[in-house]
Amino acid sequence: MINKEQVTILSSKTIALDTFEMVLNNHYISQHAKPGQFLHIYVEGHTLRRPISIANVDPEQETITVLFKRMGAGTQKIATYQPGMVLDVLGPSGNGFYIDSNDSTVLLIGGGIGVPPLYFLGKTLAKQGRKIISVLGFQSKQHVFYEQEFKALGETIIVTNDGSFGEQGFVTDVMDSLGQYDCYYSCGPLPMLQAITAIVPNQKGYISLEERMGCGVGACFACVIPTADEAGYRKICKDGPVFSAKEVTL
């Protein structure tokens, strides 16, 4: 269930170009959050909250880690927040990644600021003894983050668009060479998700979507995605942000 919670900032630091890691303290969210869920963060002076994926949770320490990219006025403001400050958040919001207990090898495919939710997922899956392969795409060397964290979970391939780090190209360029996996999980820019679902249309997979949100709880119909089924749509904030790759029309 979504609660309106006060979270305390324990630390905030830059981990790549315009990319920040913030560690938050809150009992309720740290005990209930699942991989794929997000926090809807109130930003002083802004009408709309900002949805930010949960990148990690430590239930013992009661901490939640979020990563975000400084893009618009909202994330610019969050980037100035200092440890000790208290934030008003709604969470944990949305549905997390579906995990099939029969899968033994999973592929994580992240693009840019779509990488963070896959870390929480990867850590959870690794703990359950599954084999993890990660393909992470970034614009350039300056944008790369969490390489070591993912390497600790399993084989990790970094791809940069300009070739300044790891392999050059797009995440889809290396997908052929990976061998067998039971399921993929992906989060990133829409063109990347479209390319992936087109390359492996018959592969079981789950994707996490981003969209500009209004209420973030399913009431306002701002963030919808078309589907081919009878319902005709899903709400990204409430029914998602994770969907089966076959469920939605990208």
Binding site: I2, K4, Y42, T47, L48, R49, E211, R212, C220, G232
Partner: protein, 304 residues
């Protein structure tokens, strides 16, 4: 009558606070935050004759002190609303107002008539002011003659009191208000959103897929107050006021301008508890400014 109560056509409200149409869905999501029986009333999301999927995304954009939306009246259609949503709201001890939308006169009549046979809907809000659909809606809301015609048609089709929701996108709000009053409206609801646009610098193009959207939130409050102030002096039917309300002080301002009750829209997105927090705060704000009750305040700002 208790301090916060107000009686309006078809609506005996225990307090004057209701969530605005389109900003609260059909109540389900917010019922997980608090007991909806605390609300004076609930205005449901717009209903059209059949299911509508709305506009492409992005559908919302933040602005200074507000937001633009171009949802496009996405809703499951009046029959589904009556079958699946009204029964849910009937579980709560609060009044239910149905927001009626359409593209043609016939569609408005059809939707209004469908709510007749529904117990638990206490009034209609006639939405002739949605700026976000291509056909219909808004032209009924910008031409006094068309507004009068759709009001008459809906009054004929319905047994329920009809509150006509006015668009601020007109140069003469008074003639709109008078036209629908003469056509038989039982009340007014004002204001809907103000048409606006935002250009996205990285793409150089309008940010919303629909290009234009409706501006809501604190940015539009002075416009709403001015329009209600002007209209309330010239009509004798009650006004449900809305536009940028976030606090109990804002509510007082709307009542002083001449509104008899208010709706809270965009503020729900920032704070899901905003309606109940305002209800709890209202008695303190009333006494702070020396008023006994809600009915004591209504229109005080306009009487000389």
């Amino acid at each position: 009558m208790s301090q916060l109560a107000v009686n309006l056509p078809g609506l005996n409200l225990k307090n004057p606070i209701m969530p605005a149409s389109g900003c609260f869905g059909f109540g389900r999501e917010y019922s997980e935050f608090y007991d909806l029986s605390k609300l004076g009333a609930i205005i449901m999301k717009a209903a059209t004759g059949s299911e509508r999927f709305g506009n492409r995304t992005p559908r919302v954009a933040e602005t200074a002190s507000g937001m633009l939306n171009a949802i496009g009246l996405q809703n499951p259609g009046v029959e589904n609303i009556i079958k699946h949503e009204v029964p849910f709201l009937a579980n709560y001890n609060t009044s239910v107002i149905a927001n009626v939308a359409g593209s043609t006169l016939e569609e408005y009549e059809h939707v209004a008539a469908a709510f007749n046979d529904t117990e638990h809907v206490h009034a209609l809000e006639l939405n002739i002011s949605c700026p976000n659909v291509k056909e219909g809606g808004i032209q009924f809301g910008t031409d006094p003659e068309m507004a009068a015609r759709v009001t008459e048609a809906v009054k004929r089709a319905s047994n329920l009191p009809v509150y006509v929701k006015l668009s601020p996108n007109v140069s003469d709000i008074l003639s709109m208000a008078k036209a629908v009053e003469d056509a038989g409206a039982d009340g007014l609801s004002m204001i809907n959103t103000i048409t606006g646009m935002q250009i996205h610098l990285p793409s150089g193009k309008p940010l919303l897929a629909n290009k234009t959207g409706g501006l809501s939130g604190p940015a539009i409050k002075p416009v709403a107050i001015r329009m209600i102030y002007e209209v309330s002096q010239e009509v004798s039917i009650p006004i449900i006021g809305m536009g940028g309300i976030t606090t109990a002080e804002d509510v007082l301002e709307f009542l002083l301008a001449g509104a008899s009750a208010v709706a809270v829209g965009t503020a729900n997105f920032q704070n899901p508890f905003v309606c109940v927090e305002i209800i709890d705060e209202l008695p303190h704000v009333l006494s702070k400014y020396g008023y006994e009750s809600i009915t004591d305040v209504i229109g005080k700002g306009v009487s000389v």
